[in-house]
Symmetry: C2
Subunit: 217 residues, 2 copies
């Protein structure tokens, strides 16, 4: 059955791999599943056809036969459950890997989203310069703990898992801010994720679309 995901026709990040389809592409590459991509314009993302499969009018979505999903967390969990390679077989270790998925999306990412919001949506506000250090310190409060947990390990809990896939993806959003480089072990952790062949293939696939787009402009 063909797998089809959606992605931005023109990614706001210009192909840096920060759009959320990257997380799904990476998971698909890790489990060795081919997929097709349907590109969506910003206008069509808010149209009735797309809202019917994604109630919040965002990307990515996942379609496979009669199964239609949104939310990257759900999509990568589904892929990890269906195919070998992203979840341990031991039931306790499996739940711990899933715990790290939620930690990435609900404990770490919200603090990082605040920084993105502050820069992109409130970048022109008079308070932003004074407020940014507070936002960054709240990120550091979480990364202090994450860094202490990771220590000298390669991955968060044993072998690479879907928890690492999401945590690396979330931390990548910090690179431009310089905060990631304040944590040597976290920066190395992210680099290990980026060095995985599956990540490299997924990154190239999303970059090709945006590179193509730039030559058309």
């Amino acid at each position: 059955m063909t797998i089809t995901i959606t992605a931005f026709e023109r990614s706001p990040d210009g192909g840096k791999g920060l759009a959320r389809d990257m997380r799904v592409r990476w998971a698909l590459e890790e489990v060795g599943q081919p997929y097709e991509v349907r590109l969506i314009s910003f206008a069509n993302m808010k149209g009735p056809d797309h809202l019917a499969i994604h109630p919040f009018g965002q990307i990515p979505t996942y379609e496979e036969g009669s199964l239609v999903l949104f939310e990257t967390g759900s999509i990568v969990l589904y892929l990890a459950e269906q195919h070998a390679g992203l979840l341990p077989r031991d039931s306790n270790a499996r739940m711990r890997a899933i715990t790290w998925m939620f930690a990435a999306l609900n404990t770490i990412e919200p603090t990082i989203l605040e920084l993105t919001t502050a820069k992109i949506l409130e970048g022109d506000k008079p308070w932003t310069e004074e407020r940014l250090p507070l936002v960054k310190d709240r990120i550091r409060a979480r990364l202090d703990k994450l860094s202490a947990h990771l220590g000298v390990s390669d991955w968060l809990d044993g072998a690479f898992s879907v928890g690492d896939l999401l945590m690396v993806s979330v931390l990548l959003r910090l690179r431009m801010s310089g905060i990631l480089d304040e944590y040597q072990n976290l920066a190395a952790y992210v680099a290990r994720g980026e060095a995985r062949p599956a990540y490299i293939r997924a990154f190239a696939a999303q970059f090709a679309i945006n590179a193509q787009d730039r030559t058309q402009v």
Copy 2:
């Protein structure tokens, strides 16, 4: 095997049911599992014993024999997988319910956390009065879509599921702001959640601790 969760010795919300142990208590009541509670002080939450089971030094945690979990999303997913009542049997419907869990925690809750942060951590800042309307409008942008999806349905996708449990829990954080009441169907949806016998039992259990605490002060 005994299930033990952790909760605040003294909840910052004074028993309003907004602390995250409430989500786990509710799930445990929905699936009919008895549990014990270990109360933790703020000082001990950041100590080595608790950090060993919760790397971010928060509550709740979940212990059952050799299984030790943190992250409410992961804990309630585990309970929903182990016991009947919170996930549909049909495999596609099951994944859609899980999708709503992630939507609650990664699409809706981050915008609501920004409001909590603005009020509690930045309440004394000179920019907060002017900034709050922007934060609230970002919440409304998400609730517009959520409300449109829910329409006149009782629950987000068929029967009550773990996705509704988390979405109601997340939306409850908005009650004090008045924003929830701008959406009649979402306010009714939350009220339906609160009216469930399992919710009522879970609420009473967490309230008893905090009421007891108040008589001691």
